[in-house]
Symmetry: C2
Subunit: 320 residues, 2 copies
């Protein structure tokens, strides 16, 4: 039994995981579920996507066959269920909602949110899938951010997005999380490390401080080894030092990249609370006086996009 | 049969390989051999080191049991044959030669060159093993460099060493080669790559150019993926682009780190000719007008250190 009237099945379908939300009037989360059936494991097979959708939300859809379904994330990549081509910056919720891709499954239409791309003059392109929906959700939750802010979405490929006029103006990817995982598992830096249940906060802070300046990440990283060899940092502190170095490196580089006009705008972290708390700590060390934090805003983003696309209507407003 | 009179068995014994040189009067290379029996494979077992030495140089030592043996590299690490503790910067050949470690094997003494360490105020320590001997060799070959130069030794852990007054003043490690190997084999960046027999020089140059500025390596790296996804770089050019990005990153950071007084001093690349040629190309793109290049100088370094330690005498000079 679910409280409230279901209005939308919202799917946050990334590479390695699938999260499903049953949303009620106004986007209220009535129920949520998670599965390991990420888009990468589907190998582009429509039948695999259909089976995964049926597995995670089949009962929701059986009790209300007319429920619309909206998905974001790698499910819309070239090697996903169907490709939802990137929408170029600057763009906001209206443009994204007007560019949904569609697939049919079991007689039902599934709408898929496109990713976004941007390109600075003379630079390589950048792209994201899934984070655009979290950004839309953050702006839906905090309307005052629409006029201008920097949103930071930490993760495997962290995104730093500049927002203005209710749109994503541009963004940059930092491979922070992937560098951490790869260097820890496969490089000489992991050799001296021991697992720790909670990050060693002193080691983390030392790593963040060591990331200051432009002396070169490839050089700064070697300190993880030299501090371990010289026993100045214990095996349990080395993972946190590496994490602090990589997170601090991205923060410092992103702060340097901000234009003078952006420096007064709010910085907002969006994501899993343990991770955003660590980023907030690092930002303070890097001299950022105040940071806002939001948890995963994908459900709010999917609701807002479903509204803009006419998949749902805001019945809370229409009944008042 | 070997031409000339053997004077020294010189061993360049790194983590993954062992190179042996039979040196004659004046350090002339009479013969050389290589084996895969690197120090890491010995797992610290004296018997394994003895067997590897016997395998690669047993016949040389049998025909002249009084030949001295001098080794450099990871063989002298804490987990090597015996530890030769780091000599702190600033130091030159005399200090290194006065700090040789010794082990006995089959009734013979083997001398081992210590590594070097250095530490900038407020920074993590840095260390090297094996490169100090190549530096000594470079200075032995080119005496005019002793008064001041920057030596660059590309590799898994590239070393940038500042030389003055015939000593290594300080140095910095850049994990350039290891980052390339690990990111190519284990990160998302390797997914779109194809092998190429020779590096794609246009892709390499584009990577070097993209490394300019302080916009953050963790961000710049994502271009390897975005340029691949957008098909702006072909699969065969992506490895060279990644290589150019990492090498350019280290060059730019190291050039920024040089003091004003060092900027007029010669830059000298030491190592395997294909790799130093690539670095020379990258340095030109980064605005370095001229660079010298030397091949592996370990034999010359071992000879110079053996002379300074009294293991050999310079018979060419003493007979004139």
């Amino acid at each position: 039994m679910v409280a409230g009237t279901p209005r939308l099945v919202a799917l946050d379908w990334g590479s390695t995981s699938l999260r499903a939300f049953l949303l009620g009037p106004g986007g209220e989360v009535l129920a949520s579920r998670a599965a390991q059936q990420g888009s990468a494991a589907m190998r582009g097979a429509a039948t695999a996507y259909e089976a995964a959708l049926d597995h995670i939300a089949g009962d929701w859809l059986a009790s209300d066959p007319a429920l619309p379904v909206l998905a974001c994330g790698m499910v819309g990549s070239k090697h996903g269920w169907t490709e939802a081509p990137y929408v170029a910056c600057a763009a906001g919720a209206q443009r994204l909602a007007a560019s949904l891709a569609r697939v049919r499954a079991a007689g039902r239409e599934i709408a898929i949110v496109p990713g976004m791309s941007c390109r600075a003059p003379g630079a390589a392109p950048d792209m994201m899938r899934g984070e655009e929906t979290q950004i839309v959700g953050a702006l839906a939750l905090k309307a005052d951010l629409e006029s201008g802010c920097t949103l930071v979405l930490p993760g495997t490929h962290s995104k730093w997005a500049r927002v203005g006029h209710g749109q994503v103006l541009d963004f940059a990817t930092y491979m922070t999380g992937e560098l951490y995982a790869v260097l820890r598992a496969h490089s000489v830096l992991g050799e001296l490390m021991a697992d720790a249940e909670e990050p060693d906060l002193d080691g983390f802070a030392a790593g963040v401080r060591a990331s200051a300046g432009c002396s070169g990440l490839a050089h700064q990283l070697f300190a993880v080894r030299s501090l371990g060899l010289s026993r100045e940092l214990g095996a349990g502190a080395l993972p946190a030092y590496l994490s602090g170095l990589l997170i601090g490196h991205a923060i410092n580089a992103a702060l340097r990249a901000r234009g003078a006009g952006d420096r007064e705008l709010p910085l907002v972290l969006v994501g899993e609370p343990k991770l955003t708390a660590l980023y907030e700590r690092a930002m303070h060390i890097c001299g950022v006086p105040s940071v806002q934090r939001l948890a995963n805003t994908a459900p709010q983003g999917l609701w807002r996009l479903a509204l803009a696309a006419g998949l749902v209507s805001d019945t809370r407003e229409s009944t008042t």
